[in-house]
């Protein structure tokens, strides 16, 4: 079972006081720690689990700047066999579809049974790359997958819906599956493991390597364009309940009853 995992390097923003960059098209990344996109990490783990079960090879693929290679190295330390970075200025600033074009061109050169990727990137929240990728590859797809079983060239997946419902789908392979967090428990990549992985080769592919015209990828190939980022307006509606714990909880109970939550 040969699996391609598409991963992205994103900033960790949990506690940070984010600032918008002066051109208003992105956030100021200074001082932020970077890591693999959370749901991509779960996708990688799922690929490694399938490989441990059924054998085959895991290729990890990213479209990004040189700094993205740290995510590829970490993935190889965890057990990915091959790493590819789509390295070309032409790929920069692509929206979901433009990025998918580049990824699809690279994947078409590989022998694969399954493409896994995270359901959503935590920086732009587009949730569209996996779906566009499936369309461009001409294969079926399923998104927000929280359960997965592979047998006899087919996948049975469970998609997370609202209210705790799970939709079960039978899928013929090859297919693209976007993975939701919580499907597994990702393993740890040790520092020594990552150091060893640093000695392994990362294949670089340019737009011309993949036969892609610049007009199809990156900013030029994007159908959507960021006009600007703004801070959310500081609103009202947050009420601090004063008093002792007993008094405050009484007030809280009242609010919950009034608003119909209890």
């Amino acid at each position: 079972m040969n699996i391609v995992v598409c991963v992205k390097r994103v900033p960790e923003t949990a506690e940070a006081d984010l600032k918008i960059a002066s051109d208003r098209k992105a956030i100021d990344e200074e001082g932020l720690a970077f890591q693999i996109n959370e749901s991509d990490n779960y996708a990688l783990e799922q690929a490694l689990l399938i490989k441990e079960d059924l054998g085959g090879e895991v290729t990890v693929l990213t479209a990004g700047p040189e700094a993205s290679e740290e995510v590829l190295r970490m993935s190889m330390a965890k057990g990915a066999d091959t790493a590819v970075r789509l390295a070309d200025d032409a790929f920069a600033d692509g929206d979901a579809v433009a990025t998918a074009q580049a990824l699809a061109a690279s994947i078409k050169e590989m022998e694969y049974d399954l493409v896994l990727t995270g359901c959503m990137a935590s920086d732009d929240g587009a949730t569209a790359v996996g779906v566009a990728l499936a369309e461009l590859l001409g294969v079926p797809h399923a998104t927000y997958v929280v359960e997965m079983e592979i047998a006899d060239g087919k996948a049975v997946v469970g998609r997370e819906l609202e209210g705790g419902l799970v939709e079960k789908l039978d899928m013929k392979l090859p297919a693209v599956v976007t993975i939701q967090t919580g499907i597994n428990e990702p393993r740890y990549a040790s520092i020594m493991g990552i150091a060893r992985a640093s000695k392994r080769e990362i294949t670089l592919k340019s737009a011309s390597d993949l036969g892609l015209a610049a007009a199809v990828v990156g900013a030029e190939g994007s159908r959507t364009q960021i006009l600007g980022l703004d801070y959310p307006p500081v609103g009202e509606g947050a009420e601090i309940l004063e008093g002792t714990p007993a008094e405050a909880s009484g007030k809280l109970a009242q609010v919950l009853k009034e608003k119909g939550f209890a």
Binding site: E15, S190, M192, G193
Partner: protein, 373 residues
């Protein structure tokens, strides 16, 4: 590839069992360090060593190593077994998260570096400028920096330095995890990375003395970082010195009956038993009562060895911290004093879980001293 027996010099083991007999968690988990040494001698090499989840229950108190009559270091073997699990990526999610956080943010608590000095917000805490000489470096530590309960330790220490008129500096948000717990958890690579970064920072300043809040930081800086060209002490040793030199005096008093819990990394690992006791005896109003299990025999609180981030395996019976708190209550004391942020947290939680609320309070030595200033 050396065998486990070769790597950890296990062949001297006579299987006497003093290690397991002294192991505090052997009472309540399946950890049997004598058996692990036996398997290390007779079994396959580290790569094929059987996975031992109970190895994560060890608190690295070092009782086993102290008691061994043959100079074998069972604790080092245990850390090695953890390391083997780490290299395979097979560790519990809470351990994984602590290690990843330390790599990304320089602390195991999942907090960002920018907020490392929030504890000092209302105080005027000096931060060393690049390359500045620092006669006294206060190494705050990740837990006193970020944990709300332990931030008071750091604030108390600053108040005491002020009262004693002692100029000091910190590294501010440039300070990173010392790595003591990282090494105890078996992540040798991350530990070495931390040492490299910390040594670069330390070596770029001429430092006279490093004072730490935590015995864990003191332990690794003193014993595992190589020659730092300066002395490394825990704050209890520094306070002892200040009192001895007449630089610290008390304006108030604390009219309480107290006992003292020896932290494993201060006592067992580094033989610092008397300085905290001398400091306690100097605080006016304090009546000091010794635990039966004191000094080398102090009952480990189960906070060390990475245990703050470990979901313990198959525990039975009473948590050691609960036992310790109940023993303190039985002594009839008002305060259980300790000198380690992990001990403080575990014993404080144990006051609640042992049903001793209202019967006793846990306090750090620094807080007690600051209170009596």
């Amino acid at each position: 590839m050396p065998t486990l027996a070769e790597k950890y010099e296990l062949l001297g083991c006579i299987q006497c069992g003093r290690c397991t007999a002294g192991c505090p968690v052997a009472l309540r988990t399946f950890l049997n360090v004598r058996k692990l040494v036996y398997e290390g001698v007779t079994g396959p090499g580290p790569k094929d060593a059987k996975e031992r989840p109970e190895a994560w229950n060890c608190t690295t108190c070092s009782t086993c190593t102290e008691r061994c009559p043959k100079g074998v270091k069972p604790m080092e073997l245990l850390i090695g077994l953890r390391g083997a699990a780490i290299e395979k990526g097979r560790v519990g999610p809470t351990i994984r998260d602590a290690l990843e956080s330390t790599f990304k943010h320089g602390n195991p608590w999942g907090r960002i570096r920018d907020k490392r000095m929030e504890w000092a917000e209302e105080l005027d805490v000096p931060v060393a400028a690049d390359g500045e000489a620092v006669p006294l470096l206060y190494y705050v530590g990740c837990t006193p920096a970020y944990d709300p309960r332990c931030q008071d330790i750091a604030r108390s220490l600053v108040r005491v330095f002020s009262a004693a008129g002692v100029p000091f500096s910190t590294f501010g948000t440039a300070e990173s995890c010392c790595g003591n717990e990282i090494r105890r958890m078996g992540e040798e690579g991350l530990f070495e990375l931390l040492v490299e970064g910390n040594r670069e920072l330390l070596d770029s300043h001429e430092i006279g003395t490093i004072v730490t809040s935590s015995p864990h930081c003191m332990n690794t800086f003193k014993n595992e970082y190589g020659d730092l060209g300066c002395e490394v002490v825990h704050y209890s040793q520094y306070f002892d010195r200040l009192l001895d030199e007449g630089k610290l005096s008390f304006g108030g008093s604390v009219e309480k009956k107290v006992t003292y819990h020896d932290p494993c990394f201060l006592g067992k690992h580094n033989d610092v038993f008397d300085p905290p006791r001398r400091v306690l005896e100097c605080v006016p109003g304090v009546t000091f009562v010794e635990f039966d299990r004191s000094r080398e025999r102090a009952l480990c609180c189960e906070g060390g060895g990475g245990r703050m981030w470990v979901e313990a395996e198959e525990e039975r019976g009473e948590r050691l911290a609960d036992t310790r708190v109940k023993d303190a209550v039985a002594l009839g004391v008002d305060l259980l004093v300790t000198a380690c942020p992990f001990c403080l947290m575990t014993l404080d939680d144990a006051v609640k879980t042992s049903g001793s609320e209202g019967k006793i309070e846990i306090i750090d030595l620094a807080q007690l001293v600051a209170e009596a200033l």
